[in-house]
């Protein structure tokens, strides 16, 4: 069996690879065809059919994984929201299909249209009808997963295929026993028993499932010390549920389905992240393996001609009737259901539902199980079943996709969950429940609300770990996930950027590839943090002072350190699950702080974050420009992402360089940038800002860096100024900006000393999330930062002291040394071998 199973898996892999084929042809079709081919080869070689889809193997080993997978990953909210429709189709629909098909075929037989060799009475045909009429979960899943219809439609068809098992099993067993008894010996009580057994089988199966779900949840609550076998419990207990139900002749499919649906919430909360992943992938792997095997074997078994006898009338009649009655049944039921449904199923939905009623391996296994002694026409039924299964899987499976496209069926839209959406959904639930309360109508929302309260109060308490229970809230979950995702992508980008920086090439794609909508990105990109409160701008201290101070914090707090911290918690998060709780909290705290930080609306807070943002902006701009120059093309400037700029901060490693005097001096220039830029803005009466406002922020970056860069030369060497203006400015800065620039240049030239001037308020984006402000003992902190940002240590020191002793007085004094250094500082950049230098090289 082993080699047999591995073989189909391999072939399935091949199919996965050839996407072109599978985009048109469903995998199930290909597998069946492949099975047919293989069966043919085996038959030709061995002269007899070797392999068969054995009913026992099918029911005991192949079916459970698929059902468990579908139950466990069933979107339970959606499922229960549509439970009414699903149950109707599953119970009434299946009953109708079997009786109608059976009776119609019997009629056909009576009319003499079939081969008279078929010895079958009404009971036989009803038996056949019961097994052929059930929609098959495996086939439906295989086809619908590739079609992507909207989720309501999917859940109805799929839910029906799962839940109709109870009906099928009961009908099959009842009719089978009737056939065995013979029509003459059936009493009225037998019919009553049949009906009663339906309830017993379905409700009993469900109860078994719930029982095991409860056990499973309870067990996983206490597996903290044996994490490694957590996934095992999930599979084991689900399987035991299946076997237990099967043993007592209850609906095993229902048992596993409900076990999966109900335990998921608690199990997921209890088991560790690793176990969760393991469960997920093992389940998916098992399910798709089984599916592959089932379809392959369907193909292989079909070539076994000894098992079946062909009768055209029966085959065609069956095909016709199942299609017809399915459609009729769907239309009738939908008509009734739509009177109760809030979202009516329209005609297109009905077409898809009718057409999507695929038959599959369950029918085949059931027909093989028939006893030839009792059911004389078994061979005919086998042939018909094979044809029906092949027809529905291949023909309908092939055409349903074009049909869905042609009918313009609403497709499912896979958008990431957003926090707002989740919040609103919850608000909805409460509102609707409240309205039902107010109106005094105990409807669906009322009971759901009641259930949720019960769940929260008792079930969750009982079945969830204390730690898990405490943080159990869906809104929180979404927030949590978004946060984790952000954190991870943050780290990823960090690594990415880092390497990119080493190469000294901006990697454009890295930006587009990252998820644009994520909150953190927003933070970084749109600078919303910096934008929440305008009034801050009006609170004026000495800007320079503030900026310098803030720069420390930015560098120290948010740029270098957090990255390292993130990385640490990231890896820890995934490596040692035991510490997870703590880590989670840590990640939260960091993210939360970051968010809060950016959102603080109280004045002083915003103020600081604002200026930080501004400063950061500067830093980024600087970097950007350097990158831009590096690549030496004008176009880059608009798309250079901040991440590319970010490496500046990471460069701590190059501390030796920092000691290098030449470099330090280089960096002096950059330090001064702020002042210069500020000056120009102030002088211009904010022409620049105005124009900037209009631009979407991405475009904004380039101009300002240019300005900043331009100003560096001015700082260091007045003579160079003209050159810079002409070459760089024209390249990058938009026309109006250039004008502004020129103005500012002239004004700058007229101004002797820049330090006194305050920087303009206009610094946009908030480059990096600010994790926390760290009050620093600056002297030791500074060198590190300066290395990060390529600042000379003394410069930063001065900045620090300013921040510490915020009064404006000292500022002037501090500035003097700055100026001095700058003047001295102009050293040819060529000496620098490292990438840091290209900044300089760019200017010069």
């Amino acid at each position: 069996m082993d080699d047999v199973t591995s073989f189909p898996n391999a072939s399935s892999t091949v199919f996965h690879l050839s996407r072109k084929v599978t985009s048109v042809v469903p995998e199930s079709c290909l597998l069946i065809l492949l099975g047919l081919g293989l069966g043919g080869i085996v038959l030709a070689v061995a002269k007899k059919a070797e392999y068969q889809l054995e009913p026992n193997m099918f029911f005991l080993f192949l079916l459970p994984p698929i059902v468990l997978d579908s139950g466990y990953f069933m979107p339970s909210r959606l499922f229960f929201d549509n439970i009414g429709a699903i149950l109707t189709y599953a119970v009434v629909g299946t009953l109708w299909n079997s009786f109608a098909t059976g009776t119609a075929l019997w009629g056909l037989h009576r009319a003499g249209l079939m081969d008279p060799g078929i010895e079958a009475g009404l009971m036989d045909f009803l038996l056949f009808g019961s097994l052929i009429s059930a929609v098959d979960p495996v086939a439906v899943l295989a086809v619908f997963e590739e079609v992507h219809v909207n989720e309501t439609l999917f859940i109805i068809v799929f839910g029906e295929s799962l839940l109709n098992d109870a009906v099928t099993v009961v009908l099959y067993k009842v009719f089978n026993s009737f056939v065995e008894l013979g029509p003459a010996h059936i009493h009225a009580t037998d019919y009553v028993k049949g009906v009663a057994s339906f309830f017993l089988v379905s409700l009993g199966g469900t109860a078994v499932g719930l029982l095991f779900a409860f056990l499973l949840a309870l067990i996983t609550r206490f597996t903290k010390r044996v994490r490694i076998i957590e996934p095992l419990f999930v599979f084991l207990l689900a399987y035991v549920a299946y076997l237990a139900a099967e043993m007592v002749s209850l609906s095993a499919i229902l048992a596993v389905t409900f076990c999966g649906i109900c335990c998921k919430k608690y199990v997921e909360a209890n088991i560790s992240q690793k176990s969760r992943t393991t469960v997920k992938y093992t389940m998916k792997t098992l399910a798709s393996s089984s599916e592959t095997i089932i379809f392959m074997f369907l193909g292989i078994s079909a070539v076994d001609t000894s098992k079946w006898t062909w009768d055209t009338a029966l085959v065609l009649g069956t095909l016709f009737f199942i299609l017809l009655f399915r459609a009729v049944g769907v239309v009738l039921q939908t008509y009734v259901l739509n009177r109760f449904r809030l979202i009516p199923l329209d005609r297109i939905d009905q077409v898809v539902m009718s057409y999507g009623g695929l038959r599959g391996a369950v029918a085949f296994a059931l027909v093989i199980l028939l006893d030839r002694e009792k059911v004389k026409a078994k061979d005919y039924f086998v042939a018909t079943t094979i044809v029906v299964v092949f027809f529905t899987v291949i023909v309908q499976g092939l055409t349903i996709k074009p049909l869905v496209t042609w009918l313009k069926v609403k497709r499912s839209d896979h958008h990431k969950p957003t926090l707002n959406e989740e919040l609103h959904e919850h608000a909805f639930d409460h509102i609707l429940a409240a309205v039902e309360d107010i109106v005094g109508h105990h409807g669906y929302h009322y009971w759901r609300d009641k259930w949720e309260q019960f769940d929260k109060k008792y079930l969750s308490q009982l079945l969830m770990r204390k730690s898990a229970y405490r943080l159990r809230d869906e809104i929180w979950d979404v927030y949590y996930k978004l946060n984790i995702r952000d954190a991870i992508s943050f780290v990823d980008q960090g690594g990415h950027v880092h390497s990119a920086a080493k190469l000294s090439l901006p990697s454009m794609p890295s930006r587009t590839s990252m998820s644009e909508s994520s909150v953190t990105n927003l933070l970084r990109e749109s600078g919303s943090g910096a934008c929440l409160d305008l009034q801050v701008i009006d609170t004026v201290r000495s800007r320079r002072d503030k900026e310098d101070a803030a720069m420390h914090h930015v560098l120290r707090g948010s740029l270098y350190k957090p990255r390292r911290r993130y990385k640490a918690s990231y890896s820890r998060h995934f490596i040692s699950p035991d510490k997870q709780e703590r880590q989670d909290k840590e990640i939260f705290r960091q993210n939360m702080k970051r968010r809060l930080e950016t959102f603080k609306s109280t004045k002083h807070n915003v103020c600081s974050s604002k200026s930080k943002a501004r400063l950061k902006e500067k830093g980024r701009k600087k970097k950007n420009i350097s990158l831009t120059k590096e690549t030496a093309n004008g176009k880059t400037h608009r798309s250079v992402p901040w991440q590319d700029a970010a490496p500046v901060l990471v460069m701590v490693s190059s501390e030796e360089e920092e000691s290098d005097s030449s470099e330090t001096e280089k960096e002096d220039d950059e330090g001064i940038v702020f002042v210069a830029r500020a000056t120009d803005e102030v002088l211009q009466g904010k022409t620049t800002p105005g124009s900037l406002d209009v631009c979407p922020s991405p475009c904004i970056i380039p101009p300002s860096p240019t300005l900043a860069e331009k100003e560096l030369p001015w700082k260091g060497d007045q003579a160079d100024l003209a050159v810079y203006v002409s070459s760089e400015t024209t390249k990058i800065v938009p026309v109006d900006m250039q004008k502004a620039w020129n103005q500012s240049i002239s004004s700058l030239e007229s101004i002797a000393s820049p330090p006194g001037i305050e920087s303009g308020p206009q610094h946009r984006r908030f480059a990096c999330p600010v994790l926390e402000e760290q009050p620093q003992s600056a002297s030791q902190a500074m060198p590190e930062q300066s290395s990060c940002f390529q600042f000379p240590s003394h410069l930063s020191k001065s900045g620090r002291s300013q921040s510490d002793s915020s009064p404006d007085g000292p500022e002037q004094q501090e500035l003097q040394p700055l100026m001095a250094t700058e003047e001295q500082g102009r050293v040819p950049p060529s000496a620098e071998p490292r990438w840091l230098m290209f900044n300089k090289a760019g200017h010069l």
Binding site: L423, D449, I700
Partner: protein, 207 residues
């Protein structure tokens, strides 16, 4: 007379349903002509609803009552009660695009007004935080700080959806109704915000 008019206005609500609602109304108001806020306190099931305050508030919000004026009503009569209920009508099969759109906007407006507690046409961060805090108040283990940060995150998200890349010193003051509509794009509110009793024959269920 007012009833029949309302029945027309609110479309699908049948006279039978209105009768039921009227019974319920009288029950709530203890046979008075109007309902006051206190009357809602007598509904036992409502007690556990975390955003109960907001919901009850919405019933007295004049903006929801299609009145010209702003602010809060002291008491509402049955007509107003029906008006509020009509926000929870389900869609009908025969609605065309335009009707659907209006319908959708109406529902969203109701929701928007619930969030916008100071009636300034914007959901500010503070207002959003309040809502989230209330929503999460059912879970005693979540601290206020978490609720706040969730609200902050949501607000940021909203800002990104509505404004996209923000300008330098642009301030996102709050979610306006237009922004609100934008955020709801792609989500079928009309398929979510309705209550069944307004669709099928109601079982008079009283306690």
């Amino acid at each position: 007379m007012a009833l029949s008019m309302l029945a027309q206005e609110s479309g699908s609500v049948t006279s039978e349903q209105i009768e039921h609602l009227h019974r319920r109304f009288k029950q709530l108001s203890q046979d008075q002509l109007t309902i006051r806020k206190e009357n809602f306190d007598s509904i036992p099931d409502l007690e556990f609803n975390p955003i109960r305050g907001k919901i009850v508030h919405a019933f007295f919000d004049k903006r929801n009552l299609r009145q010209e004026s702003d602010g809060l009503a002291e008491e509402i009569n049955f007509e107003d009660f029906l008006t509020i209920m009509s926000y929870f009508r389900p869609i009908e099969m025969n609605m065309d695009e335009e009707q659907l759109d209006r319908f959708r906007k109406e529902k969203l407006k109701f929701l928007f007004h619930m969030y916008d507690s100071d009636h300034d046409g914007k959901i500010t961060l503070q207002e959003y935080r309040n809502v989230v805090e209330e929503l999460l108040s059912g879970n005693p283990h979540l601290e206020k700080e978490s609720a706040r940060s969730i609200a902050d995150g949501a607000m940021m998200e909203a800002a990104s959806i509505c404004v996209g890349q923000m300008g330098p010193d642009q301030v996102y003051e709050g979610i306006t109704f237009e922004d609100f509509l934008k955020m709801w794009q792609g989500i079928d509110i009309e398929t979510k915000m309705h209550v069944r009793f307004l669709n099928v024959d109601t079982i008079a269920h009283c306690y």
